[in-house]
């Protein structure tokens, strides 16, 4: 009786003739649709906008009028929409599934925040409109700064840096400005950076001409306090420490580290990319930190957008606050807001900003989203964010401790670090393991970072995953680990088998880089 509906149409797969897959004529696989490059669907004469040719004006281009074709494709609106919708179907996203990319805090992105950022009063205002016409925008910046200062317990804030790495640069510039003011710039040329640090930390220090000196990790995945103290000296400008660190651990000795850094006359820069684990529970200002950037696109949930835009505001201690760069917002006695955007303004204000990180005032679109997120959570919700993110990560750590190899003793903070010891002798490597997760419908965890353990697998579930979701994820990893250990190599080495693309040849891509589309060479004319 089963297998038919009332119209006599077969409903059971048992009744279909075709099993497995075959190569389709189109290359498509049902909902998985192939898509050519825009330049290949170019159809001269088509256009996705209707614009009238202007008339009755005098050209003022002089001898600089553009000549000839640019080569841009011509495509109508329906084709453009279809093109990008098809491309979108080739992406994994947090909206579609768990995205355990350690250090990246891929949490849910509330759509309320998108709506707020698009209010014309925020989205459609120009950075150089008269200040009296943007009082609400300045108020929003002021308010965001207030939340960041309260949450971190730091007295100074600058909003303008455009991402985490830009915030690092800003914080390290403030440190250098303070050293210049103290007359110790020449003598302090070394910056201590733990081996486990994100690549942006050493890159930032080096940009400012500092010599990067690596601090080793101890057996517990934290800064080796003795090795660190041995490296301190009168030539040290700063330490750049991530806390919680990139192994997902709270730096237990952080207060002692801060004390020693300050005693040596240096400053304490904290990479705050992992602030999510402690927001609302621990204030970096209470730990002795001098400057810390906050990735609004991590902790405060502004969407990653496939690689940005982000925002990297920096909070400062009393010692560094006067050097914070232009611009910044002050609240006047009459309740109005004023943007301090020039050195002359600052002088009148009694501050000594070190300079300017970017044109205009920073990532307003991210500020609006982040404040919307903060207001929604409140002090209580933010504390819960930290607690649930840490709980989810520890649950993963505890549940997988016998199947994968945890690198360090728990508890962890918001992410759990494993290394590849559990794969030893299986012929499966971290990369293969990660790629097999793709076939299971997951984005892989961060792999091969941090560098302090072999074949790292860094898992950050975030607080916006339900227990049910985390349970299925854990069960999947257990199953994969068992498969690897029972010699089911095919499931790994060729993976992913079911993604829109199989593994891509990165070596070939780098050897002979093809970085743009070029028109096909015209066919040889017959002689």
């Amino acid at each position: 009786m089963s297998g038919m509906n009332r119209q006599g149409r077969p409903t059971s797969i048992a009744n279909t003739a075709h099993g497995g897959t075959h190569n389709t004529f189109t290359g498509n696989k049902a909902l998985e649709l192939e898509e050519a490059l825009l330049f290949e669907i170019d159809n001269p004469g088509a256009c996705g906008v209707d614009l009238d040719e202007p008339e009755g004006y005098t050209s003022r281009l002089g001898n600089l009028a553009r000549q000839g074709r640019i080569g841009l494709p011509s495509v109508s609106e329906p084709e453009v929409v279809r093109h990008f919708v098809r491309l979108s179907s080739k992406n994994y996203s947090i909206d579609a599934g768990l995205y355990p990319l350690g250090s990246c805090t891929m949490k849910h992105n509330p759509r309320l925040n998108e709506k707020m950022a698009r209010l014309p009063g925020f989205g459609d205002v120009h950075p150089l409109q008269p200040q009296k016409t943007v009082q609400g925008a300045l108020e929003l910046m002021y308010e965001l700064g207030h939340w960041l200062k309260e949450l971190t317990g730091m007295p100074g804030v600058t909003l303008s840096p455009k991402a985490g790495a830009h915030g690092e640069l800003c914080g390290m510039m403030a440190i250098r400005a303070a050293l210049i003011a103290r007359g110790e710039d020449e003598s302090r040329s070394r910056v201590l950076v733990p081996e486990s640090a994100h690549g942006t930390n050493p890159a930032t220090a080096a940009l400012l001409g500092y010599k990067v000196d690596a601090i080793p990790a101890n057996a517990e995945g934290r800064v080796d306090l003795e090795a660190f103290k041995a490296k301190l000296g009168p030539d040290v400008a700063a330490i750049m420490l991530t806390n919680p660190n990139t192994c997902g651990l709270f730096e237990r000795d952080i207060v002692e580290i801060a004390r020693a850094v300050h005693e040596a006359g240096a400053y304490f820069y904290c990479d705050g990319a992992n602030f999510n684990a402690i927001v609302g529970r621990v204030r970096p200002g209470d730990l002795g930190i001098d400057a810390m950037h906050i990735n609004l696109h991590k902790t405060f949930s502004t969407p990653h957008g496939g690689g940005g835009p982000g925002a990297g505001p920096v909070v400062f201690s009393e010692a560094l606050a006067p050097f914070a760069p232009l611009p910044y917002v002050v609240k006047e006695k009459d309740g109005s807001f004023r943007l301090v955007e020039s050195e002359a303004d600052a002088k009148a204000d009694g501050t000594t900003p070190f300079g300017r990180m970017t044109a205009f005032h920073g990532q307003m679109g991210m500020f609006t989203r982040a404040l919307s997120y903060m207001l929604s959570h409140g002090s209580d919700g933010l504390r819960q964010v930290a607690e649930d993110s840490v709980l989810n990560a520890n649950y993963v750590l505890a549940s997988l401790k016998d199947d994968l190899s945890p690198s360090f003793e728990g508890p962890c903070m918001h992410e759990a670090l494993f290394d590849d010891r559990f794969l030893k002798g299986t012929g499966v490597e971290t990369l293969d393991f990660a790629k097999a997760m793709i076939d299971e419908g997951y984005h892989p965890m961060t792999m091969y970072f941090p560098l302090v353990v072999h074949g790292a697998l860094l898992i950050e579930p975030t607080e916006t995953e339900s227990k049910q979701s985390v349970d299925l994820f854990i069960a999947t990893l257990k199953d994969l680990a068992r498969a690897a250990k029972s010699n089911d190599k095919a499931r790994f080495t060729g993976a992913p088998h079911m993604a829109p693309r199989r593994r891509l040849d990165e070596t070939a891509a780098a050897r002979k880089p093809v970085l743009k589309w070029s028109p096909p060479a015209p066919a040889q004319a017959a002689e």
Binding site: A65, L72, N109, P127, G305, M366, G378
Partner: protein
Amino acid sequence: MRYLPLTETDRREMLGVIGVKSVDDLFRDVPESAWRDGLVDLPRRKGELEVERILGRMAGKNVAAGSVPFFVGAGAYRHHVPASVDHLIQRSEFLTSYTPYQPEITQGTLQYLFEFQTMVAMITGMDVANASMYDGSTGCGEAVLMAHRVTKRRKAVLSGSLHPQYAEVVKNLSDFADYELEIMPPALPGKAEDIASRICDKTSCVVIQTPDFFGELHDLRAIAEAAHAKGALLIAVVPEILSLGAVTPPGEMGADIVVGEGQSIGNGLNFGGPYVGLFATREKYVRQMPGRLCGETVDADGNRGFVLTLSTREQHIRREKATSNICTNSGLCCLAFTIHMSLLGEEGYKRLARINHAAASNLADRLAKVPGVEILNRNFFNEFTLRTPKPAVEVVDALADKGVIGGVRASRLLPGVKEVEDLLIVASTEINTEEDRAAYEAALREVL
């Protein structure tokens, strides 16, 4: 809390599995001196409606550009963005994915980056473009650092008509990275700037903006030659990227690096950000470029696909030896740029540029008729500079009171420079109607 799925029951069960009594136990590595039992001193959680009310009230205090005759440019331009752009960039698969580190499941992002790079190379007339910088100003700073690497020299010369905040960004970077810099005095339209004579055998690059801060267009050919003759590079800066639909691109005038602000295409004003830095150069310098690059390759089945490539330049591989510290860039803004550009296409891009030029040209003709007003520019695209018979700060203010946002006074960005105190920089784009221009003219007559 509506965004947090764990229930009290879940939490209890999970703590049981972990083998601790309370979540406090998980925070046991936090030093006692930093331990807090209470909440930080901030308001409690709020529902959607309440958040909308609060932020709606703040938004309501701003004059949205679209609500008045609006003529502000100076590095950010109000253009019409087709509806499908904002719709498409909000698709979950684009909006809520990370940087494409796993190419097998991020071909969507990678392919549009490849298309983006191609389009940027095409419009600038350069060989290669990267997958974006934060914005035009930081891209400009990176370009100068790149020129130092390429030439192994340490001194840059900036034109006096470069956007003053771009110059401040370059100066900041140069100061802290211990490079030399010469910034020419403000160069008003119509006054020749003798930048060529400033180039010597220590000069790594000359930085020139076109259309410049005052709206003036520059022919770069002579300065390119002069720079190259001394072994220096020419960096061209284009904050109004739509201009390249009408104007000879820097790549055809000898530029070695072109830096642009891509905001005009697909991206709103957003009070200054997020925007999208465009960065293009010659093939031979590609390994000295900052930022991500997307390249074409094949997968294990031989199908075409895209990956991030040449990453040995970047911080995650190279650490302190990287060409830049940039990581997160302007991904979604690149997407908006690419979609808008696809809708425009060859014809639309050029025509939109002509419409902008016509709008500004007509506005200049109108305003030139106002007694006491002088237009300084000879050649411009969609922006020009007025000399007003009163200090521009008063003019802008009085115009705003009459409901016209009439431009940017040059003194806002060049405070203390006497000769720019009566200058008003005015942009006009396709958003302005004939009525807007008439309203501007009328208001200007009244306030002068």
